[in-house]
Each structure stands twice: as C-alpha cells, then as structure tokens.
Subunit: 385 residues, 2 copies
C-alpha cells in the first residue's frame, strides 16, 4: 500500500462518494446539461446548479451565476488574467510564490502587451506582505494577484489583510486558492477578493477535470473561449449571460458531480479540523526531519502558521534520486523538483537543487510521516556512505 | 425507461466499461499525471499516453505528441482558430453548417481583428461543396474550416474532396468532427486535414469533460492557456513542447481513461457497422414521419448519405411544445430549437420555427424510432384538433 504524500499535486484517495457520483452521472443521466429540455438533461443541469450554489456559498461570491466551471485552475487563472483588458504600461503586482499558472500568463502579458509586473518577495525590505504589496502599487496598477498558499513551502499569504488594504483602491484583486480551497476559510466579501480561482481536485477532494473561477459582479471579463451556450443561439456574438457566456461547450458533468461530493465531505469534516490535521502533520514532519543532520527545511518552520506542505533538501544528495528511492523501495510518493514555481525557489536559493516536497491530506497519519522520516534517514545515510 | 434520441448532444448510455475505468482512475491512481515521478502519477500518465496513441492512430495524425486534450470540442476549436496568427484582411472560408463553436470564434476574429469570413451555403450556385469552397478562396485565405457533419440535418460534408482540392494551396484546413468522430472514418493524411477537433462524449462514447485537437507537425499554434507544464518549470515562457505546452494544468485523467474505453467499444463494433446502424434508423425515421401529413424533414432525405440525425417541423405546431410532450408523456428525449447552429436554420429558412431533432446512437433500435413516430402522430393530432 502506497503512502501518498503528494497531496499538493492532487488529493488522494478521494471520498468513495466522489466516484459513486461520477458513475451515476455517466450511467444514469449522461445527457447534455443546459442544452435540451428533457429529463436527463435536466438531471445533469441540476447537479451542476447544485455544485455552483454550494461553491458560491462556501466562498461567499456575490452571485451564483458568476461561478464559472472550466477544466482546471490553470484555465480559470488564464480566464481571470487574460480576460481583463490590457494596454501598454498597465501594471500588475504578484508574489514570487506564484505558480507558473499565474506567472506564465503574466510573463506573456509583459512580452506581448507591454504590461509591467512586480513580483514581491517574502520579507521584502522587512515589510509584511500587505505593506510590500501596497508599496509597489502605482497609478497604473490594474491587478494584484497572489497565491493564498505556496505549493512549495506551505507558507500562507495573508490574503485578507492584503484585500482589506486594497479596498477602494480601484485595483482588481485576484487570489489563487489552489492550495487552500478546502483547507482555509475564504470569504470573498470579507477579504475583498474580486476573483478567486481554484481546482476541484486538491483540497476540495473532487476528481481531476474541474477548475473554478468566481467573479464578482462588477468585473468585466472577455471570455477566453466562445461557442455554443445552449441559449441565444441566433446571436452572432457570444451572449453576455453568466455563466453560460464564459462556459462555452459541454461541461464536465461527471467531474462536477464528483466535486459536489468532495465538497460535502470537506464540509462534514470542517475546514478547521482539516487545516489543523494537515498542519500538525507538517509540524511533526519538520520536527522529525530537523533531527537529522544535513537536512534543510525550505520556508516556514514548525512554529509558524503553515499548510500541510513541507519542502526540504539534503546536503550533497540529489532530491530526484531520493524521491525515486522513496517511491521504488519505500512505496512513498513525494515530489521532487521545482513544482512549477521557479520564483519560489529563487527566493529560497534552491533553484539549482530543487527540493523534495511532502504534502499531507486528510487521510494521512502521523505514522506515515514517521515512515517518511525514517526512510529519509536511511536513504541519506546510504547515499552519503 | 427513457427513449433517448438526443445522441447528437451527448451519446447515452455509455458502454459500462467507461464508468468502470473512471472509477479506477479516481480510486486507484488519482495522482497527478506527468507531474511527479512516483508510481501513481505514472499510472495516470500511462492511461493518458495510451489514449493519446489510440486517438493518433485512429485519425492518422502525424505525431502522437500533437494530440491535445482539453475540456470539450469548443475549447479544442477555439485553440485551433484563435491559436493561429491573424492580421487584418486575412480570410476564412467556412460553411453555413458550422456550429457556434466555430462560428462565434470566427465572428470574433471578424470584429476584433478585421478578418473576413465567407460561409458557403449548401448547393451554393448549384456547385458541389468543394467547388463552392474553392471558388471562395483568395490570395488572403488563411483557413478553411468545415464541419464534417451537420448537427441539425445530419448532412455529411465531403471533407476528403475538399481537403484534396486544397492540397498545396497553402491554406490551413481544419475539420470539426463533432458529429462524425466515432461514426465515419477520418484519415488526416489521406484527407489532407491540418487540424481536427472533436469531443470525447459523442460518437466516441466517452464521458463529458474531454475535447481533442489533433494538429499536424507543420502547424504553428499559440497556446490559449499557459501555465504549469510539469517540466521546464524554470522557463519564464511557455515551453514549446508538444503536447505539454498546449495542455497547461492538470488534465481530466478520469475522463481520458473513460474515453479510452469508449473508443475501444467503437473499435470493437467497427465504424461502418455503427454508421450503417445510425443511418438506417434515420432513414426509418424519415420514412415514418413522411407518411404523416404536415411534417417537413429539414435537410437530406432518405435516399442520401446521412448521419443518424433527423430534424423536422410540423405545420402550425410549436416544436418546443412537442419536445416537452414527448419528454413528459412519452418518455422520449429529443431536442427542439436552433441547436447552436443558427446559420444552418437560415439556409433552410427554419430560423423562426426551430426544429425538432431526433438523433440516434449505437444502442437505439427501430422499435424506439417507431415509438417516436407514433408519438409524433398522436401529439400532432392532439395539438391540431
């Protein structure tokens, strides 16, 4: 039996209700949602509507119609970023913790449209995140986009204080909750978030194949994809009706049905229980690893508020090799490398080495963490002999 | 038990192997494909690679790396169309049979980039499709894009003769096989197709949530979405590596695993058996409907080569009402309206009425068609009394 510590990539296992709901969607009402008016189509629409409503309430978006489903968080983030209207000289503030799903769309805007981008580093000029971000804002700043939690270090960015400080600034505020949706409470109203993006298959315990973008009512977004919207077929132009106008084509009904069950499991357990569990495993892991000589934890230590993600490297040892041995000889799944977040590694000067990342979920246990630490000790000793 | 005659929207039911494969993907190897190197991730990658290879061989694309998975045919078509580089005055030839997933991206290019678009009508100037299309080509024509089969009338467009006639013309040739993948043989080599797009959830019998774009090696496409690609994380720019550079973010692993099973079922039955079965049901349906006074078939009749899609309207009767009665009183699912293809209705002068569409799949039977015809007769008589 595999010990799966790659939860930051995809949570696994899923609640059994997830696959059950997907089977039901495929085998019992596999019709096209929102297209035809018949019973099977209505069943498909109903499960999508229910999931939309659940998501809207959980994250307190203003309108249920502005819950947009797509393939993954990357497509949601591209819609959020590329969907705004950009001109030369516009300015964006982001952080060095951004995943490539934010950084690459921003770099493309830089290159193709002459947009300027600042990436704020942790502890930049010994400022807090909100001070450092506010400090970068100019009269040309159009967007502040930050990740809620680093997928490399588990560090949490205070999205609420940043949001509150941006209130009435006229700057759009977008949060990438890929690592935190289903783990930390997110309230778009209280946190003053204009757009929120996340995947269904991580903390929300849904299957792969669903990304979500929540958009406040005042935000104008050009849809990335245009096409069939099920109604207003006669119009040449994409109808400006949410969510259909931003969800052209057939949605992933089974995936969305599965996501609903994942979210229901998250609600049953409660965010604070989930967060405390995952955090306690990461602290247990850090404490265990710190006892071993030559191991360096990257990012926040065990005293800080953090997600269940621990990255580390070992002096003189190749992380990819360690991950391979963990997989093949110890049946432990972790992830080594840069984790699609190279700027994070620049911040921590780990770009050349990459790191080994262990990330924890609701089903992981202290015993599994102990097995990881014991395995790391053996591997390290073996490789350094 | 519902009689499901809305196969052109989504095929239903699916082979039982489809949901089984999805359950396995979710419950046994729910890790992130192509990201981490561990066993579970490799299982996810393996099923995706296998599907990619299957699709490449089935449609004879040059390279397995240029099989790009996305959410649906609409995202695949937006990638194909919007991914080309456009300038004012560029010209496109399409047909009036295009679905909004082609028409709306083209209309947007027209409006935003000054691209010119001609939509060829069936029998335009009494020419064949290939003559009429060739006739429209100018020195500025960059793209010919045609649907292989109308989702409204079931008419088949001769994509091979069009492709052959475009050979060495320097014009890009894209085919929308939404209604034909899994029904008619499509050979990108022999048909000289540069890009081919289709959904997984129609003729290929897979679940909703997967679209496919096949791209020949010479085609340059700007990726619509950029982000994490699993490797080359350190590069600021999106890596130009197929397929990863055009598939940013996590793929729909369960959906792709289900699609593989759908395709295997298609292969087991054989395309010609599937096509003949669906065509024979449509002919049986047309013959039955023609016996009823006041019913008009839209599009090709029973003598012509056609897909298993039959659209009709009834003098003096509202199609939406008929569809509702069929659903509620006869448990028969059809679709009424414009079917996201308004130009088709303009061609047939049915824009004001819309039509009732019955579409047939591999599991439908002659008896079901008979029940539809009998129900239509009753409803018509009742409404016109």
């Amino acid at each position: 039996m595999m010990i799966y510590l790659d939860q930051a990539a995809s949570s696994f296992p899923k609640p059994t209700t997830v696959a059950d709901a997907m089977v039901k969607a495929v085998n019992e009402y596999g019709a096209n949602p929102g297209r035809s008016g018949h019973q099977l189509s209505k069943c498909a629409s109903a499960v999508i509507d229910k999931t939309r409503e659940k998501v809207q309430k959980m994250f307190r978006n203003q309108s249920v119609d502005r819950v947009v489903f797509s393939l993954n968080a990357t497509t949601a983030l591209n819609q959020a970023i590329d969907g705004l209207s950009w001109k030369r000289g516009d300015h964006v503030v982001a952080t060095t913790f951004e995943h490539n799903s934010v950084r690459r769309p921003l770099e493309r805007l830089k290159k193709e449209k002459g947009v300027l981008v600042d990436y704020v580093r942790p502890n930049e000029d010994e400022k807090t995140w909100e001070e450092a971000i506010l400090n970068k804002i100019t009269s040309n700043t159009k967007l502040v986009i930050v990740t809620h939690g680093s997928n490399v270090t588990g560090e949490i960015i205070p999205v609420e204080s940043i949001g509150v400080s941006l209130k009435n600034s006229g700057v759009m505020y977008c949060v990438d909750a890929s690592q935190t949706a289903g783990v930390l409470p997110i309230d778009m109203e209280a946190m003053n978030i204009d757009m929120l993006a996340f995947p269904g298959h991580k903390g929300l315990l849904g299957p792969q194949g669903v990304g979500v973008l929540l958009v406040k009512n005042h935000v104008n977004l050009r849809p990335i994809n245009v096409g069939g919207t099920g109604s207003h077929s006669e119009e040449l132009e994409q109808p400006k009706i949410w969510p259909a106008g931003w969800e052209s084509g057939t949605l992933n009904t089974p995936g969305i049905a599965g996501l609903l069950k994942g979210i229901q499991e998250v609600e049953k357990r409660g965010l604070s229980t989930i967060f405390e569990h995952e955090k306690s495993l990461s602290i247990h892991c850090i404490k265990g690893l710190k006892k071993l000589p030559g191991i360096h934890i990257v990012g926040p230590g065990e005293e800080e508020n953090r997600l269940g993600v621990v990255s580390f490297y070992i002096d003189g040892v190749d992380g990819l090799e360690v991950a391979m041995i963990l997989d093949e000889h110890y049946q432990i799944a972790v992830r080594a490398g840069l984790h699609c977040a190279p700027l994070t590694h620049e911040s921590y000067e780990t770009s050349d080495k990459g790191v080994i990342r262990a990330s924890f979920g609701i089903y992981n246990t202290k015993e599994e963490v102990d097995q990881l630490v014991a395995a790391i000790e053996e591997i390290k000793d073996g490789l350094l002999e």
